[in-house]
């Protein structure tokens, strides 16, 4: 098998992967970096982020405020040492982006502008109109082009981590253009493969967000942490699931039900001030807003459409000028995809699966339990997001922990004097290849990729959606186990080598099945309600038993085992999460 020897392999060229690559190149230009991605870097889903990236910017704000908002927003499941580090690094990383040319929106005096965001006490969300992720990704990608040590392998689908003597020393990847399996030997590997929203049927996540890296690490023996926490964003377009950014509520947009009533006031989020009050009403946290929708729906106060029930997001009072200046993409998306001009009509919206709080278990240095293996970005769980991520924290997270992972991996690579033996890693790579070629051996089982995907999507939505019960989760766990078994009966129709998307989709489906099972089983075991994980049969938060991270470990055909680890609490004791007029 063709082998490329490098110092550090990065899997994923989204925001986190690119930031890691630049950090390595800057810390030691002699280190060779192989940056692998299944799509061209600028296609990575960071591109879709709209609203902004959080970091303290105003004089009247403080790191403590950002810390407190994040920890309470995460329902105290965040590791507080990690959050402290995160809020401290955030403004620096965002300033670094400015130095690299990111076209942040500005105030009239030329400073970087910030906007309010859900669950944030003071405006601290840096934005580039409503295409923040797009601009960050392109800025990072373009900046990365000046470092000759970053060698890109675009459209290389990574299938496996390669382990030698218990350490991760490379990856196996399919060169999509030729279909050939390639071996990358390295001293350290960083996974930056993004989230797994595609496990669910209705999501803001692009087709590529299939949890590949999570599954790779999981199968290699790293636990998946807090997988039961899946964020529903309250405002997606019906049908497509296209996101209407929280920035539109930050700018003053309101949510109303079928009576034109601002229903959030009925869910401890009021009073309904005419101006956007921070951490109240439409600027409450996402978990609360999505849950409020569910209750409105039960009460019959939503509006029915061919693509399911909706409520209305009304921006009309902002006026055309402000909408064009601050929310041009929102306007364009609404006109194009639901035929509604927000200047003239309210936008129909409904909750949509958006973000995976859980992920590859890492420590505060982005290290996993496997020597040589790091992870950063949405695929990782440090955890700064706890049970509910605050909007605009993750774009910052991928910068802070992307660069940390880069620097950490650079240290490992500099400390290791030699590469592992060729024959040892080749053996691992051959095993990876055998798994792929195995998929081509048709068994006549008659299962299809789209069929299994549909079954997975619907059982996850039914059993592990916004509200869950023991019964619903048990059903989903059983169904997912069956789907896992049925996967062996898939027949690939496409036998070609070149750009074989039938094969790639099968591999992605395999990853999603593993990730989905970790989500469902972790959710079943967490007998409490916290943040985005809401159980109708255990409605209270239970700090006694569950102020702990869940850790799912891979068990092949069997359901994963779930262990727990205490949350790191340094200075904020768990308390009630208070939003609306009652907050201090």
């Amino acid at each position: 098998m063709e082998m490329t020897t490098t110092d550090i392999v990065i899997v994923g060229a989204g925001g986190a992967g690119l930031r890691a690559a630049i950090a390595i190149a800057e810390s030691n230009p002699d280190l060779k970096i192989a940056l692998l991605s299944k799509v061209y870097p600028m296609r990575s889903h960071t591109v879709a982020a709209e609203g902004g990236a959080a970091g303290v910017a105003k004089d009247e704000d403080s790191l403590d405020n950002h810390f407190n908002d994040t920890v309470s927003g995460g329902d105290w499941l965040c590791d507080q040492d990690a959050v402290d580090l995160f809020v401290e690094q955030a403004p620096k990383e965002l300033t670094q982006m400015e130095h690299w040319g990111c076209p942040w929106s500005r105030t009239s005096d030329g400073k970087v502008a910030v906007r309010p965001f859900g669950g944030m006490k003071i405006e601290r969300t840096w934005y580039a109109a409503d295409k923040t992720g797009f601009h960050m990704l392109h800025t990072l990608f373009q900046t990365s082009m000046q470092y000759p040590s970053i060698e890109r392998y675009d459209e290389y689908y990574t299938t496996d981590l390669l382990m030698v003597d218990g350490a991760c020393r490379g990856v196996a990847a399919i060169e999509m253009r030729t279909g050939q399996m390639r071996l990358f030997r390295a001293k350290a590997v960083i996974i930056c493969t993004g989230g797994a929203g595609r496990v669910f049927p209705f999501t803001t996540n692009g087709a590529i967000k299939t949890g590949d890296g999570m599954a790779m690490a999981y199968r290699a023996g790293v636990a998946l942490k807090d997988m039961e926490f899946v964020q529903y964003h309250p405002t997606g377009l019906p049908g497509t699931g296209i996101l209407i950014t929280e920035g539109s509520r930050g700018e003053g947009g309101i949510l109303v039900n079928n009576d034109g009533y601002r229903y959030l006031q009925d869910y401890n989020l009021g009073p309904p001030d005419p101006w956007p009050r921070k951490k109240a009403m439409e600027l409450g946290p996402r978990d609360r807003l999505s849950q409020a929708f569910w209750h409105e729906q039960k009460k019959g106060r939503t509006i029915s459409t061919p693509h399911g029930d909706v409520v209305h997001l009304d921006l009309r009072h902002l006026g055309e000028k402000k909408i064009n200046e601050r929310l041009p993409m929102v306007r364009d998306l609404a006109i194009s995809y639901v035929g509604v001009d927000p200047v003239k009509e309210p936008i129909p919206v409904r909750p949509v699966v958006h973000y995976t709080m859980g992920g590859i278990d890492t420590d505060i240095d982005a290290k996993t339990a496997v020597p040589g293996l790091f992870a950063a970005g949405e695929c990782a769980c440090v955890s700064i997001n706890g049970a509910n991520r605050l909007g605009s924290n993750s774009l910052t997270e991928l910068l802070v922990f992307g660069s940390r992972a880069g620097r950490g991996a650079a240290e490992v690579a500099m400390a290791e004097s030699t590469h592992v033996d060729e024959s040892a890693i080749e053996k691992a790579a051959e095993e990876a290849r055998a798994k792929v070629t195995g998929l081509f051996q048709n068994v006549g089982g008659g299962e299809t990729i789209s069929g299994l995907r549909k079954d997975m999507n619907s059982t996850m939505e039914e059993g592990a959606g916004i509200y869950r019960t023991e019964e619903s989760l048990k059903d989903t766990c059983v169904t997912m186990k069956e789907i896992h078994a049925r996967f062996a009966n898939i027949d690939l129709e496409d036998k070609s080598n070149v750009y074989n998307t039938d094969l790639l989709q099968a591999l992605e489906l395999g990853a999603m099945i593993d990730v989905a099972r970790a989500m469902a089983v972790s959710a079943l075991n967490r007998q409490e309600s916290r943040g985005s994980h809401q159980r109708l049969d255990f409605v209270e938060r239970d700090d006694e038993k569950f102020l702990r991270h869940s850790l799912a470990s891979y068990a092949g055909a069997d359901d994963p085992g779930v262990d727990y680890r205490d949350v790191v609490i340094t200075r904020s004791q768990p308390a009630e999460r208070v939003y609306g007029g009652d907050q201090k």
């Binding site: 799509v39 061209y40 600028m42 296609r43 990575s44 889903h45 591109v47 879709a48 620096k92 300033t95 670094q96 400015e98 130095h99 690299w100 040319g101 076209p103 942040w104 929106s105 500005r106 105030t107 009239s108 005096d109 030329g110 400073k111 970087v112 295409k131 797009f134 601009h135 392109h138 373009q142 900046t143 082009m145 000046q146 675009d154 253009r177 692009g206 087709a207 590529i208 049908g239 497509t240 296209i242 996101l243 061919p306 993409m329 998306l333 194009s336 995809y337 639901v338 299809t448 990729i449 789209s450 690939l492 129709e493 070609s496 080598n497 070149v498 750009y499 074989n500 998307t501 039938d502």
Partner: protein, 247 residues
Amino acid sequence: MSLRTFELEIMRYDPDKDSEPRFETFSVPCEEDWVVLDAVNYVKDNLDRTLSYRWSCHMAVCGSCGMMINGEPSLSCKTFMRHMPDKIRIEPLANFPIERDLVVVMDDFMDKLASVKPYLVAKEKKAVEDGSYLQSPAQLKKFKQYTLCINCTLCYSACPQYALGEGFVGPAALALAHRYNLDSRDVGRSARADVVASNEGIWECSFVGACSEVCPEHVDPAGAIQQTKIASTLDYFKDLITPGRDK
């Protein structure tokens, strides 16, 4: 929801099997609010698993799903079936080699993008601790439009000069160079001029404007090229007046 059936005539090419591209027709029942990409996904999921194409975001920002749709370079996720005739011809983007089916070879475009040094060259490196550069909304506005390129390459498919295959740097890459040249924080213009004002750069453009017409993001690369030409001409004359100026 009402369904309407379309005939999709899709270009197929598998270098492992086909000596040349061919067309294959699929009949697809489409919902009213579908885009062309939804119809293509229907083919893949229900009619032919071997069909290859790129897509990801389904919201016109990742730039991967460009195709020729009835002869026009288009983003398939933003081309609505309700505006389409009953028969639709779908081909890979013109002016690029075909890798397989609707997937084209992107190497040349990626090289061109990198060739214009699309990154900020600051006068002096500023420490993060020293905070951000000041930039007024007016200064930002000067280049903002040219930051909006999603690298979809539709403009390369529409460009008669790029079609000649003579190495023209092309609309998106030149617009990107212009973006950095116009940025108040940047001093890299002369470094970029090697490529931008070379034989394969701006002077090759015959100003047909097809690029700006197909651009889904209204970047107006033709305008960028025109402005760069003017700036370069001024440079040339300034050089005559004060030779060796700031090279």
